[in-house]
Symmetry: D2
């Protein structure tokens, strides 16, 4: 069974207890994600904050946790700056050594995503009640398995281009918002030995993760991001000439 | 001065004299393209058909023409099948040897584009009065130079995903249509030594090529596709061991 | 079990019965490939020629065969031109609809590979007794699973750059030959819904396919190229506006 | 005239005054690079250290310098860790805003290159007297303009795969070393609005930069990396709905 760790900032629903978020995710976004993943994957959840406002040490990131994670999900929004650089470095290193990672929605601006991309990861945005169509660009891609031509998201925060990312190795979804903006909503990269997927839907005040097709995409992405290849340490060896 | 050859099928406006096309392009799409390109480029036009219905030999393609073309523009729609395989092979070979080429609108289904892509180049479509927003994905790309965040096309034929192409080397524009569909509207590839750009806008019954930003994009694309590198023949040489 | 079809020209060993090829592949290259694949895959073999010189109809390609093939292996060298265009079109269409395909060695110049690539697929070459080192560029890639840092091939035909292909989506192996030439020896692409792998080693007069690591790479490539996604027909549908 | 800033660590030849480096670069690698660039470009040089061992403030990086640089060259080796994070952040930001950058040889392990790549940038290496052949993979690429099929470098430090980088957007050169190793020696990427080129040759104790073809490649790379597009600041704007 693939070992999944769901990391959540846990501010909107946890520390700040915003009613419009708790309405959809009463136990936290991480717990909701766990609820639909746990039948297929071995799920652990970690948060930056506890519900009582306690800040977890090193954002809850330990080497032991990383060694027991095949694929990590990352949801963050308002407190990216509170994640210690040490935690960012440790997770980025785990990705480079082969761990898969899926960045959800506003994690586009996490230090971790920017570290792995090498760019600003800026975008255009608008909090609104826009409808989003999520279009499948490549129906043969494993992340699109079982997904119809488009998924309708009744309300989502608008994320628009230009999105300040390196050209994806593979673009799987493009989102369009009812006023007309577009976004590269599902993007795949490799970073050394690890696979990275960015997935745009999932604003905290809308019940996007309740949509069955969105859940299916996240499950597909976990299966895609999993790799049996993992090295304990990245090295830069001084080598002898080939002898054969 | 870059030498540009505009190739046009010339059926809608030429042979069939459809009023809704002649309204926008009374002398043919090729002549209209020439009209806004000729100040900056040395332009030649070639057509599949003459206005009297005569079919030009080998679609007007000769080795001499190709040897005098830096960048070709290709517009075709209903009579792709009338272009001889020999003409397709000659132009594809010129691209591989270093000639640039820009496929306009319904040229996505030309034998030539499919030959260079290796795929079906299928898409979803609808003739309609949909409004299109053409979004710039990478404002730093030479083809987007001087173009605002989006270009508004009051009416265009809808082209939707999935678009059956190989992943572009670089995606420059995404179009969104008012009912919500999206399309990879500006895509760059290399095919051996030649550069290829596909550009979606330009339905024959709408005055899309009259829009200044669309004209600017086509000019930019010509400058981008131009290469000083051109070989007379592609070879597969039997070689000696390196001697130095 | 993945259904594999091995296609072989069968001239060197079959029709022409060249001793230096029969020495390594007495029953044909296809039969040798089948011998090490059949434990893990359901293998069918098809040839262009029979051993008595009979030319098989349509190169042995039927729609039924393609419908029962998940991944095809293609080995050809001297009689690429004898493969009917109809056979090429049928296999290329199957790849676009989701079938995986692996091109071996001199299949770089098959009409089929050139059709899928859109380029000349030319290279530099020399029949020699050069030693080749095949270097793993990405040890985390599924096709490199279980392969050491490099594989030593005691003698191989030299294939050198420039290789006239579109930039691979992913480069897995680079070969170097003892006189110093290099080659992109293991390249991955997608063509619409199908995956394509080109693998350089495998000259007919050397026992390259007898090397366990080469066998392992081919098995890995089959597993990588397999997709559960397959459409019966590629279409270009005229669609209604989204209704939801 | 393109404004080029050559940045050099200046330890081997400057602070440490190693005879085997001074032999080739008596005034420093930066001054030697300047000597063959200054006829075509407006060149500024900046160093981490002065020859007397003084460490320059913020590695000599100022906003004013960056605002007056079109393309930067970066050479570093043993004191990557002495470059302040602030300097790295400022240069990386300039690249993302449109400045071109060329990383030379051991700059593969600079904090700056790793920041832009998002990976370890590890490789295999051996200080030796190996001969290197630098092979042109794409002779039509602007960086290979005027370069023969291969360049012979009589002695170079061996750099071998796997090279821990994201898949290049375009691979221009592959190097092979006389014992048989290979390396992706010339790689292109975009990072947001800026172009990045990594170029492997240039070990401090060999006179590699004296080779005319190597000088030509560096000049070509500067011309390629130059962009007229530059933004003063990267932003993540909250936007209104499109009004047209």
């Amino acid at each position: 069974m693939i070992k999944v760790t769901v990391w959540n900032e846990f501010c909107h629903e946890g520390v700040w207890k915003q009613p419009n978020v708790l309405e959809h995710y009463p136990d936290g976004i991480h717990k909701y994600l766990e609820s639909f993943l746990k039948d297929e994957f071995e799920v652990t959840t970690v948060t930056l904050y506890e519900a009582d406002g306690t800040l977890n040490e090193n954002a809850g990131i330990t080497r032991e946790l990383l060694d027991n994670t095949d694929v990590m999900l990352w949801w963050g929004h308002c407190t990216h700056h509170m994640v210690p650089d040490e935690a960012v470095a440790m997770v980025a290193d785990a990705v480079r050594r082969g761990m898969g990672i899926i960045f959800l929605h506003s994690a586009h601006h996490s230090k971790l995503f920017k570290t792995l991309m090498g760019t600003s990861c800026n975008l255009h945005w608008r909090e609104s009640e826009d409808k989003e169509y999520l279009w499948v660009i490549d129906p043969s891609h494993p992340i699109a398995e079982g997904i119809p031509e488009h998924v309708t998201i009744p309300m989502e925060e608008m994320y628009g281009e230009p999105f300040g990312i390196p050209e994806p190795d593979k673009l799987v979804f493009i989102g369009s918002f009812s006023p007309g903006e577009v976004f590269r909503s599902g993007c795949c990269w490799r970073r050394e030995y690890g696979k990275v997927f960015y997935f745009q839907p999932g604003h905290e005040s809308h019940p996007t993760y309740h949509i069955p097709e969105i859940q299916k995409i996240i499950k597909n992405a976990i299966n895609w991001a999993y790799s049996s290849y993992r090295v304990a340490e990245l090295t830069c060896p001084n080598v002898e000439k080939p002898q054969d």
